[in-house]
Symmetry: C2
Subunit: 194 residues, 2 copies
């Protein structure tokens, strides 16, 4: 069965999965559906105006240590971002264009690397446009498509779908209606799918 | 190095670890220090009057499914308790007596089994006294010791220590000052300790 991989560009644990999913899924013979979405509107319904890692400081302190340890374990570069969370809205809109045009996975990996290995401001178009150009796509055309009303609506709809299917955090994996939450459930989700 | 195993009797994920820690730690050659504590006072500081799994229903729905899946994976019986969370106060006080007298691990496993495999009311002395008796201890004497002012104070102090060391959930594992949170970090904590 297919693995739906739901991720949010601002999410630290999504970084770990973005860098691991393709290889592990290939080994397991499981096709991936890349599903960028926004967690902010789902958090806002709980009354959270920022990440719970900022709201609960001891939870945040632990998360930074845990992510650094797990990145090391997986052999991934990791640099704690100087701003957290970054705004993943524009990146998610661009990723939807990438989905239509077939370059979403490469774009996603490059943005997460910029955010969590290089501490770059992925909320800004300047940073994203550089990545789009590196994928040999026309930044102006991509920017126009990303900000078209239909694309904005598609992202809102996708986020509503995530919520309706029980997603409350990122990364999340869906195999049919079976939900797995967190990078540490990636292997279990793949086993379920295969 | 030693693994400090911090657990709360009301905690679902603590059940998974309580049933797994001793065997895995023995295989890794790591000594365990059993550390019962109360999570309620730590949650109360966040303004939570019950489990976050009750406060955030989608989080709760996921937890029940996740715990059932992981219990099956580990070959553990699991029956969703008809009341959640149960009150772990008296069990924790009795466990401290068990720590002094050397029967804390057996008592702890029996209580968690009663709570999460048999749906018994572990908040009641009737259930706990049966377990104490099965360990060939005198329930009356244990009850008196559990409710002695010094023992109550020791539990409060232990909970304050947990908070001071950065613990915010259960189960938690400490290896020196290195904190690991969640049953899914047990193997990583043991690897760190050995």
């Amino acid at each position: 069965m297919e693995l739906e991989f739901w991720y949010e560009f601002a999410s630290t644990y999504s970084y770990l999965s973005v860098m691991r999913t393709e290889k592990l899924a290939a080994e397991a013979g499981v096709p991936i559906r890349w599903c960028p979405f926004l967690l902010g509107p789902i958090f806002a319904e709980r009354g959270w105006e920022t990440s719970p890692f900022n709201i609960y400081p001891e939870r945040g302190r632990y998360m930074w240590r845990d992510v650094a340890r797990r990145a090391a374990r997986h052999g991934l570069d990791f640099k704690r971002p100087s701003v957290f969370p970054r705004n993943g809205l524009l990146a998610a809109r661009v990723a939807l264009v990438g989905l239509e045009q077939g370059w979403c996975p490469e774009f996603t990996r490059a943005v997460f690397h910029a955010a969590f290995a290089e501490d770059r401001e992925i909320g800004e178009w300047e940073v994203l446009s550089e990545i789009v150009r590196s994928l040999e796509r026309d930044p102006e055309e991509v920017h126009a498509r990303a900000n078209a009303p239909g694309n904005k609506a598609a992202l809102r709809e996708r986020t509503a779908t995530a919520r309706a299917r029980g997603i409350f955090g990122a990364p999340s994996f869906l195999v049919g209606d079976e939900l797995f939450w967190g990078d540490d459930r990636l292997e279990e989700a793949l086993a379920w799918a295969s």
